[in-house]
Amino acid sequence: MTPPVVKIDNLHKIYDSGEVPVHAVRGVSLEIHKGEFVALMGASGSGKSTLMNMLGCLDRPTKGSYLLDGIDVAKLDRNALADIRNQKLGFVFQGFNLLSRTTALENAELPMLYGRRRSAKEMRDRALRCLEIVGLANRADHFPNQLSGGQQQRVAIARALVNEPQILLADEPTGNLDSKTSIEVMGVFQALNEQGITIVMVTHELDIARYCRRDLILRDGVIVRDEPVHDRLIASAEMDKIRLAEAAAKLTSA
């Protein structure tokens, strides 16, 4: 077996910015292999985002080790971490984090500004293709405040995909979407996963977790369950079912 892309060992995160230190992650050990599709679940405040930020090299753990692709992340400096975020990882934030007053297309282009040299046309084409994947190509020149929450979420996904990451980290990517759009997004993720991209996503919804392959449950900063998804759903099939149901509803109402 190939070495894991993510290997964390006894990872801790203590926030001591406030009056009492908050022990948000308390000793998580985990291996994720290439091509896995992991759902991270847990109650609000259980430390999911905290763990994701550390996996995404945005935040440094208080204790414990993190090997990404065999590289000890703790040993890297700011710029090396930035390059990893840019090249290896795609991150979808819980609160979109799009640049305001900047079009969807320019938002999607953003990571390419900081990567290897690309022509303006190439950047544009790639960003457009990613917007197409999330079904937003027709909104390329809209500003975030002209887009619905779900559409903004999808721009954020397009931005995460634009540099062809090996690992996609998504913090509640369907949190703001209705069930149909959620299934669409899961379809996108499943397609990416088929292509070999490793995906870790946070979700609250059990039926969204069923589109993944592995289910992790976090409680008070520790993993309490780690098991494969049994009755896995396939997004394209679910979409067909919905379409059929809609057609039937139309017939009966007509």
């Binding site: 710029n79 930035a82 390059d83 640049l99 900047t102 500004l113 040299r117």
Partner: protein, 402 residues
């Protein structure tokens, strides 16, 4: 991030806040504009002084009564120390390179002619005075050696005298009364106009120095001696010979007189205006610095406002240097656009000053280049601190910033 991308991002940010960008740049615009205008006025003054010194005539050496150093006149010209017509005659006789020599004596008096009267300068001079000063005669002629010898009551007048006393008349042959003595006008000088200090250079009457000393001022000493050297190259030697001769004539009392050539006079005259130019430029530079502080202030506000944006950029892979360059570029674009507009506005201001106030101005290339360069540097200098502040943000903290 490539420079092109950085510039595009910076321009976009500036366009998003047009009003603020314009107001921020205004500080620099005003600063550069005032530097250019002030220095132009100072330079214009200097150029005019230089020209006036050149106006004295060509290859002119002047012997003044009394001594004055670089700091200016000490004790007033001719106040205590004495030089005489004999000194002038000796120079004419004994210094070979002195092709023309004229004693000069000044006074002021009321002049009456045709029932009008006018208060003016009365200058006593030799027959070569007009030639030494390179001053053409418009009508009639200058007086000659015989007029000097005969202490003739003849006068050559400036254009202003004609305008005041004999408007619409032919002044030649007319009589003016100086201290109740009649002088016949035999010549009119070509007009020279006003000098930088607003003095009317044509407001004068010139009479033979003998007539001046014997009939008008009743003085035995003169104010100065003007000498024309044979050529520009001969000036130093002639000046040295004059100094030696004068020292000998005055028994070694070198404080009795001062010998200056034209270049030295120009230096003395322009030294003051140079100091003025520097002073004006310095004052104007202060406003440039104030403009820079304005940029720093706005950039600091902007960095705080855009903390989340910075967080997002860092999160998707921007290096600290990329963020630094982005904000630095914004500051430099602001300041150099401000500098460019300031240069244009400064040139326009200078033109307006010369047109409506009639002051001479000279927009020098160096002041344009320097103040534009300084404004760009001001952008780098005052933009650096806010930009570095932005670059040093922690991505996750910046993202959480409300």
């Amino acid at each position: 991030m490539r420079l092109l991308n950085t510039t595009r991002v910076a321009l976009r940010a500036l366009r998003r806040n047009k009003m603020r960008s314009v107001l921020t740049a205004l500080g620099i615009i005003i600063g550069v504009c005032s530097v250019i205008a002030m220095v132009s006025i100072g330079n214009g003054a200097r150029a005019q002084i230089e020209q006036q010194v050149a106006n004295l005539g060509q290859n002119v050496i002047t012997v003044f009564a009394g001594s004055f150093g670089a700091g200016g006149v000490r004790g007033g010209w001719g106040s205590s120390a004495r030089i005489t017509v004999d000194d002038a005659l000796a120079i004419q006789r004994e210094v070979p390179g002195a092709v023309a020599v004229s004693p000069v004596i000044f006074d002021h008096s009321q002049v009456i002619g045709d029932g009008q009267n006018w208060y003016t300068s009365i200058i006593g001079a030799g027959p070569d005075y007009a030639e030494i000063r390179n001053w053409p005669i418009a009508e009639g002629s200058f007086f000659g050696e015989s007029d000097v010898r005969s202490i003739a009551k003849v006068a050559v007048v400036g254009k202003t005298i004609v305008d005041e006393l004999f408007p619409n008349e032919d002044p030649l042959g007319k009589v003016i009364r100086i201290r109740n003595l009649p002088f016949k006008i035999i010549g009119v000088l070509a007009p020279k106009g006003f000098n930088l200090f607003g003095q009317d250079q044509d407001d004068l009457v010139i009479v033979p120095y003998t007539s001046h000393m014997k009939r008008i001022s009743k003085r035995t000493f003169i104010n100065s001696i003007m000498i024309e050297a044979v050529s520009e190259k001969a000036i130093p030697l002639v000046q040295q010979n004059i100094t030696d001769l004068m020292t000998q004539l005055h028994n070694g009392r070198s404080t009795d007189f001062t010998v200056r050539n034209q270049v030295e006079l120009a230096q003395t005259a322009t030294a003051t205006s140079q100091i003025m130019t520097m002073l004006l430029g310095a004052i104007a530079s202060v406003s440039l610095v104030v403009g820079g502080i304005g940029i720093m202030n706005i950039m600091l506000v902007s960095v705080t406002e855009r903390t989340r944006e910075i967080g997002i950029r860092l999160a998707v892979g921007a290096h600290g240097r990329d963020v630094l360059m982005q904000f630095l570029t914004e500051a430099v674009i602001l300041s150099s656009l401000g500098g460019l507009l300031g240069v244009l506005l400064g040139m326009i201001c200078s033109q307006l000053v010369s047109k409506y106030l009639g002051w001479p101005v000279l927009v020098s290339t160096s002041s344009v280049v320097i103040s534009f360069g300084v404004s760009a540097v001001v952008g780098v200098f005052f933009g650096f601190y806010p930009a570095r502040k932005a670059a040093q943000l922690d991505p996750i903290d910046a993202l959480r910033y409300e």
